[in-house]
């Protein structure tokens, strides 16, 4: 069972703003799913390799080279706030 305090902590880690009144509902929903996936604890996994890539593909190397993206203005246009060609954010420090 997940407590309201845990939900508040998780929401903070996930950077999702939550209202005091939402905490109970999220606690109930998350607890229900966690109870349901408990079933996995019964599986014997001693010595089993975890799957890293499902078709067994390994690292693929490429040259560390810059590729120019032509449509830069379209990216700048998406900034929620901007000054000239710079994205504007709230002060970081």
């Amino acid at each position: 069972m997940i407590t309201k305090e845990e939900v508040q902590h998780i929401a903070g880690l996930a950077r999702i703003g939550v209202d005091e009144k939402d905490l109970d509902k999220f606690a109930a929903d998350l607890s229900a799913v966690l109870d349901w996936i408990e079933e996995l604890k019964e599986v014997e996994v001693e010595g089993v390799e975890p799957t890293a890539h499902i078709t067994g593909m390994e690292n693929r190397m490429r040259e560390d080279a810059q590729i120019d993206f032509e449509n830069k203005n379209a990216i700048v246009d998406l900034f929620p706030e901007k000054k000239d060609n710079y994205g504007k954010v709230k002060s970081v420090l």
């Binding site: 902590h9 999702i16 209202d19 996995l40 799957t51 900034f79 929620p80 970081v92």
Partner: protein, 483 residues
């Protein structure tokens, strides 16, 4: 269907512009009720169609998909077009580039009519989680079209598109195809580049076609598949012309039926499935019972791996570089005091108001499972069980060529029937999820209709094949369809 339209185009019975206009007229007429489309791309479509007509007028040869109109799920980028993934947080997002699958369709001359509705960020099985309202099932407007690619499936079923692109993370192409009575194909993991797909769960996501026929699915797959340098997980096998493998015969093919699977079905769905098994027998396939002992853990494995990957992928939606930015400094409860409160509140409020409830649930679940002290118990254990499930499939495929199951436990359900309880909704994916867990290709094909409350509803069956064996998969599906 695509071949017929292609012949009409080259025989000058219809122009590509007139064909596109015909589909826009169908959308105009029906989509007020169905709501398959979030955005129409009329200018783009007509410009593409005019180019095709120019080629035909000049006597040039045209490709099979040239001038054929379709729809792209709204979590796939189309350059210069609004791409929301059905989320408020991307309400104003205009994609700066094309997804590779979209670029390949454009290159092949396919006409793009618009963007299809879906569950927000592809999380859901009914489109009820779209921030813009649900799509309705064209077969019965009181029922869901399935999800998350519900808009794509409904558009094809309603005659509002010839082909559609969807994405499938746990059944999101196949389940809506089953509910709407159309064909839905999830290719092998890596067969189609994921570049330009708004990522949900990166180790499970795959793009694929939804179409009226298996042959049409093969045509679209032939165009969108193949290696892409922009997606390092795309498979290094060249694209093939999959229509070449549609021989119309399953004689001698070995098809596995999973012991105990049909028992969980309702009576009507079970009868529909048994008819499919019978038909494959009559067509000359060898039916063999197989066991997949660890498959019962697929859903819990999925509901650990998927939310973990979701929590990581969706961290990018924070109101900084694009999408909705909200700050209201109200009500938010925090158990720590940040040094830079206004910046943190930008993240908190943008995500609070921009994301829907199901999306938040999954992000939080993943954040919890990945948080300090829980990684081994959840994510790592799930990835180990995933290996066991994969071994089950490797073993089964030593004995059989294909595995046959229902696509869904029952036909389309009614609005509101499962939306109150998240786990009820999650159980929808019980048959489809394993193909994503183990990465094999799988297709849903319309089977015999099922009667519910005096109404006949579509019910799909699902075939899955060995990794990268789309050839046999499509061949068997096509053979059923034409007989």
């Amino acid at each position: 269907m695509i071949k017929d339209l292609h012949n009409k185009l080259i025989n000058k019975e219809i122009t590509a512009v007139a064909l596109a206009e015909e589909y826009f007229a169908a959308i105009e007429k029906n989509d007020k009720d169905i709501f398959a489309y979030l955005t129409l791309t009329r200018d783009l479509a007509l410009e593409q169609a005019r180019m095709v007509d120019g080629k035909i007028a000049r006597g040039e040869e045209i490709g099979i998909l040239e001038g054929i109109p379709g729809v792209v799920k709204d979590n796939l980028c189309v350059a210069g077009v609004r791409t929301t993934a059905a989320s408020k947080i991307l309400d104003n997002y205009i994609a700066p580039y094309d997804a590779t699958a979209v670029a390949r369709l454009k290159e092949a001359g396919a006409v793009i009519l618009g963007k299809a509705n879906m569950d927000e960020f592809a999380m859901g099985s009914s489109t009820e989680h779209s921030a813009y309202g649900p799509t309705k099932n064209p077969v019965d407007l009181g029922r869901v079209p399935g999800g998350s690619s519900g808009g794509s499936a409904a558009a094809v079923a309603a005659g509002e598109a010839v082909w559609a692109l969807g994405t499938d993370t746990g059944g999101s192409i196949r389940q809506p195809a089953s509910f709407c009575g159309v064909v839905g194909l999830k290719p092998t993991y890596g067969r189609v580049s994921r570049y330009g797909a708004i990522a949900m769960a990166s180790s499970l996501d795959q793009i694929g076609p939804i179409t009226k026929t298996v042959e049409d699915a093969a045509i679209v797959l032939s165009v969108i598949s193949g290696e892409d340098k922009m997606d390092s997980t795309s498979a290094q096998s060249p694209a093939k012309d999959y229509t070449k493998f549609l021989t119309g015969s399953v004689a001698g093919m070995k098809i596995g039926v999973v012991k105990g699977y049909a028992d969980s079905l309702g009576e009507e769905a079970k009868a529909s499935f048994e008819k499919v098994v019978e038909k494959y027998k009559e067509l000359g396939a060898e039916i063999q019972e197989i066991e997949l002992p660890n498959v019962k853990y697929s859903l819990p494995v999925y509901y650990i791996i998927m939310p973990c990957e979701v929590s990581s992928n969706l961290a990018r939606f924070d109101g900084v570089k694009y999408g909705m930015r909200a700050v209201d400094h109200k009500n938010t409860v925090l158990d720590f005091e940040p040094e830079n409160r206004t910046l943190i509140e930008t993240y908190l409020d943008s995500r609070r108001y921009g994301l829907g409830a199901e999306t938040k649930r999954r992000i939080m679940l993943g954040t919890y499972a990945l948080s300090s002290g829980y990684y081994d118990a959840y994510y790592l254990r799930a990835q180990k069980v995933r290996t066991l499930i994969k071994r089950d499939f490797e073993k089964a495929f030593e004995e059989v060529d294909l595995i046959l199951t229902p696509t869904t436990p029952s036909p389309a359900f009614k609005f509101g029937e499962k939306s109150a309880d998240p786990i009820e909704m999650y159980l929808e994916d019980v048959f489809t999820i394993t193909a994503n867990i183990v990465g094999v290709p799988a297709i849903s094909v319309p089977g015999p209709l099922v009667e519910v409350d005096g109404k006949l509803l579509p019910q799909g069956f699902q075939l899955s094949a060995k990794w990268f064996d789309e050839e046999n998969l499509l061949r068997a599906a096509h053979t059923y369809e034409i007989n």
